[in-house]
């Protein structure tokens, strides 16, 4: 990390390549957020590796003045894992789409999370295959009409948060592409967390799935239809800051403060650090219109980090093993002399 005076500006993270996403695509905003966050974090260009798979979103590394690798469809998290394990000093960020991470790369996605490799994964969820021009994805809602589902899909979508926590994930956050300030915060939180951090960004594809998140991201309604969770703060939301969440038996319930005897003291306080997944899952799964959609860091729990454990184990074994070199190895065990 750098001292304040030679700290890089966000523009120092822009590469010389012109950005080729469609005008108005949510990806532009996410690129800005990531560059801002990296500047705020005091990163230096050479210590960052940005790894992606294939998709519109996965073009991302070309636009970053860091080390970068645009790989193959779905395998970004496996390649990023290799980078991080090989050199744990690097800051490894993975860029992926809903198709890249959850369809073709689903297996790598869940296993990376299970291992808890220290990666910051930004999942661009536009609920569509952008690059291949508009087919439904594993996050498209049931009944969604697209080029490959002209009569509507007959399958249920994944909820990335649920999948992440189900794969024993320890960090999950959600934000909206165009909310730069909050997105930057989420990136910084993810960077600070050790282990696999998943940030689901609700991203708009203007061309093939415009306004898919509009019901909740639209300025006019967003405060009433989303809730920005913060660790240690009560789960209050709404334009009037008068709505909240509480537990009704085993379920979450939306209440209005001041109605039916509900006071601010009754509202749940968000504990992102709680090991138990029950409430985090419920929060991650909330969907409009029954609930506000949860934004912010839903879960951030400390757990052993794969790449660090690999290093520790190497050191421990090296400490006790008699074999210190290749030569020691080949002379160990059963050998004999021919004279």
């Amino acid at each position: 990390m750098m001292s304040v005076e030679n700290q890089l500006k966000f523009t120092d993270f822009k590469s010389d390549q012109s950005v080729k996403w469609c005008p108005g695509c949510g990806d532009h905003a996410i690129l800005n957020s990531v560059q801002k966050a990296m500047a705020n974090l005091g990163y230096s260009n050479e210590d960052v590796a940005v790894i992606s798979g294939i998709g519109c979103s996965s073009r991302f590394p070309y636009y970053m003045e860091t080390y970068g690798f645009h790989t193959i469809h779905g395998r970004g998290s496996a390649i990023a894992s290799g980078v991080k394990v090989a050199n744990p000093k690097l800051k490894v960020w993975q860029i992926t789409g809903d198709g890249d991470a959850l369809a073709i790369g689903g297996n790598h996605f869940i296993h990376t999370i299970r291992r808890n490799v220290d990666l910051n994964v930004i999942l661009f969820n536009n609920q569509i295959y952008g690059l291949t021009k508009g087919q439904y994805s594993p996050t498209s809602k049931r009944g969604f009409i697209s080029k490959t589902s002209p009569f509507g899909t007959v399958e249920s979508p994944f909820r990335p948060g649920e999948l992440c926590i189900g794969a024993r994930g320890h960090f999950f956050a959600r934000c909206i592409d165009k909310d730069l300030k909050h997105s930057v915060e989420m990136m910084e939180e993810a960077a600070g967390h050790q282990g696999t951090s998943i940030i689901e960004v609700l991203q708009n594809c203007v061309i093939y799935n415009d306004k898919t998140h509009n019901a909740i991201t639209d300025k006019a309604h967003s405060e009433d239809r989303t809730i920005k969770l913060e660790h240690g703060k009560p789960m209050i939301f709404g334009k009037e800051k008068n709505k909240g969440l509480l537990l009704d038996g085993l379920n979450l319930k939306v209440v209005t403060i001041g109605e039916n005897g509900v006071t601010e003291g009754d509202i749940l306080v968000h504990d992102a650090h709680c090991e138990d997944t029950t409430l985090h899952l419920k929060l991650a799964d909330m969907e409009y219109p029954d609930f506000p959609v949860a934004l912010g860091v839903i879960r951030a729990v400390k757990a052993p980090v794969y790449d660090q454990c690999v290093e520790t184990q190497l050191e421990e074994v090296q400490e006790i093993s008699k074999i210190k070199s290749f030569n020691d190895l080949i002379h160990s065990g059963d050998t004999w002399d021919v004279e």
Partner: protein, 615 residues
């Protein structure tokens, strides 16, 4: 020591220990091979275990065997046919009878030949010897089970432990047959069962009693004399092909000063490489057991991008899964070694058997023009050498290299003269250096055409790689038509130029031989033995064996064109012969192919070559 009635002097001999999976035949064979090696014979071994982990007891599918070939001169294969067979049950006899040399010796535990076991083995009468027409062999009917029980009756051991010692009784008897000292095996027993003195005592006793039993039955039992071989002086150890591959990479990592990273997913018969390297944390190896073969190679590619010596290991089905990622490594021009321990295919095929049928997959099994270097090891111990060279080529030329071995050499063992790494060549890592001005990711060394390795963490060399075509000059994404053609040609030429850095093809035998035998990879031992025996018998044959497949050695054409008749022998339908035809279409190649999951036998090779000589 008593007088021996019938002593057979031999140059070389093949012994096979065979029994039920639970009879401890692998250990027995291993101990016998060590004793022979220490005695000074050259040896070659091959284990042969059932495909099922717990195959039904007493059946042929449950037979587990271990074969040792040792001799007064050098031996190159574990042998085709046995001189001495130890059969611990009727199924072992049934499974191996057809692999006996005429006049050989069969030691059979007659106690195991009860009706139940005979039926399970598929015999219809109560005399398997007559039924299998084995009358011409020396049959030693030894009641091994009874004798073991008798030997241990006063030790207070439970029945199960007693029966488990049967193999040591048999081993003792075989030591008598070959007049070998028991010292090494005794030391092993003492070390292995250190914590259980009773078991040590029991095993030592049955070993001795088995040996002494030889003295008792010497009137009806031949014994064999094989003098020590004249092998190079030095310190030796036994090495299997799979361990050799693992160690070759360890050596390359040390020589290149790079960290070794393996990303892999278990698959027969390659798993031992993964296991061996997993145990080498002491040497700093990072092993990533991935969720599948794709993640195995992808983590390795990531590690290569980050600056490690990165490898992935697999067998045929896994290589199929890795195809797309190998293409990425071709495009990104990152060094990586992909080991394919070939087995019988297609699909799951014959997982525990050997074949050479992935050659075309290794050469061409990817989308697009996707050249990689292909190297094949040809013996258990030279798998070390070729793993080392595969890593050297990958790093020095910034290219994926596919290293082919096969189930036969992977599981076989040979004595290995322990090397001194100082004698091995340096590995020069083409890292960027700070003096490079206006560097870009696809700048190349003018001689090798290899690009330079800039690893994350190096200031001033930040760059982006990827699977999209790149501009030859700037390294940026490019869809330009002429640029693509140029880049495709450069990638191919880069691989071809590796030929300037590999040894020429050597021919064993005369330049004017009537027949040139051509082989590649794991068939060397059999082809060489056939060549040697034919030459000895006065035939004019020569042998050219390939380890470098792509690129081919520069003198390949000059060598091949010297011969009137060329026969390409391989364990597939003729893939290498077709590859040679593609490269040198004006020559004529005869094919000798076998696709049975088994290695060639020297006998069948010689017969075939003789018929070609007569044509």
């Amino acid at each position: 020591m008593g007088k021996r009635s019938k002593v057979i002097e031999k140059e070389e001999v093949v012994v096979r220990f065979s029994g039920d999976s639970g009879d401890g035949m692998q250990l027995t064979g291993t101990l016998f091979s060590y004793t022979s090696a220490i005695f000074g014979n050259d040896i070659s071994t091959f284990p042969d275990y059932p495909a099922e982990i717990r195959a039904p007891q007493g059946t042929i599918s449950g037979v587990s065997g271990f074969q040792i070939h040792f001799g007064h001169s050098e031996v190159y294969t574990p042998g085709d046919y046995c001189d001495v067979l130890v059969a611990m049950n009727p199924a072992a006899l049934k499974a191996n009878a057809k692999w006996m040399k005429p006049g050989g010796t069969i030691i059979l535990d007659v106690d195991s030949c009860d009706e139940k076991n005979l039926v399970k083995a598929g015999y219809h009468t109560d005399d398997p010897i007559i039924e299998d027409k084995l009358g011409d062999y020396h049959i030693v009917k030894a009641p091994i089970t009874t004798l073991t029980k008798e030997s241990l009756k006063d030790m207070g051991l439970d029945n199960k432990s007693i029966l488990r010692s049967k193999n040591m009784y048999a081993l003792g008897l075989v030591y008598w047959v070959f007049d070998r000292p028991l010292g090494h095996t005794k030391e092993y027993i003492q070390k292995k069962f250190k914590k259980n003195p009773l078991i040590v005592e029991a095993n030592l006793k049955v070993l001795d009693d088995g040996y002494n039993y030889g003295n008792i039955i010497q009137a009806v039992t031949p014994s064999y004399h094989i003098h020590p071989a004249d092998i190079k002086k030095g310190k030796y150890r036994n090495l299997s092909g799979n361990t050799a591959v693992a160690w070759g990479f360890l050596a390359a990592a040390e020589k290149s000063n790079l960290k070794l990273f393996l990303g892999s997913y278990p698959i027969t018969p390659a798993t031992e490489i993964l296991q061996e390297l997993s145990a080498r944390k002491d040497l700093g190896v990072k092993v990533f057991q991935a969720e599948d073969e794709i993640a195995g190679i992808c983590t390795a590619i990531g590690a290569s991008f980050a600056g490690s010596l990165a490898i992935t290991t697999t067998s045929g089905p896994g290589l199929a899964l890795k195809g797309e990622a190998i293409g990425l490594a071709v495009m990104a021009e990152l060094p990586i070694v992909i080991v394919n321990v070939q087995r019988g295919g297609p699909s799951t095929g014959l997982p525990t058997k050997t074949e050479q049928s992935d050659l075309m997959q290794a050469l061409y099994g990817r989308n697009g023009e996707s050249p990689v270097v292909v190297i094949a090891a040809s013996s258990p111990t030279n798998s070390f050498d070729y793993a080392f060279y595969a890593a050297k080529v990958a790093v020095e030329h910034m290219t994926p290299v596919i290293l082919l071995t096969d189930g036969f050499i992977a599981n076989g063992t040979q004595p290995w003269l322990i090397p001194d790494l100082a004698d091995w060549p340096e590995i020069n890592v083409p890292k960027v250096d700070e003096g490079m001005k206006d560097w870009n990711a696809y700048q190349r060394d003018p001689e090798s055409l290899s690009r330079y390795w800039a690893t994350p963490g190096t200031k001033g060399f930040e760059h982006r790689l990827g699977g999209l075509e790149k501009d030859a000059v700037t390294g940026a994404v490019s869809h330009d038509a002429m640029n693509h053609q140029k880049m495709v040609e450069i990638r191919e030429e880069k691989v071809q130029r590796v030929a300037n850095h590999i040894p020429e093809l050597e021919v064993i035998g005369e330049d004017d031989a009537e027949l040139l035998i051509v082989g590649w990879g794991g068939t060397f031992g059999h082809l060489f033995t056939a060549y040697e025996e034919l030459t000895h018998e006065g035939h004019h044959v020569a042998l050219a064996h390939f380890n470098y497949i792509k690129p081919l050695p520069l003198n390949t054409y000059d060598v091949l064109k010297r011969y009137k008749k060329i026969v390409v022998c391989e364990l597939n339908m003729g893939q290498f012969a077709n590859y040679l035809t593609m490269n040198f279409p004006d020559l004529e190649y005869k094919k000798f192919n076998k696709i049975q999951g088994q290695p060639f036998t020297v006998v069948e090779l010689k017969e075939h070559f003789k018929s070609l000589l007569e044509e």
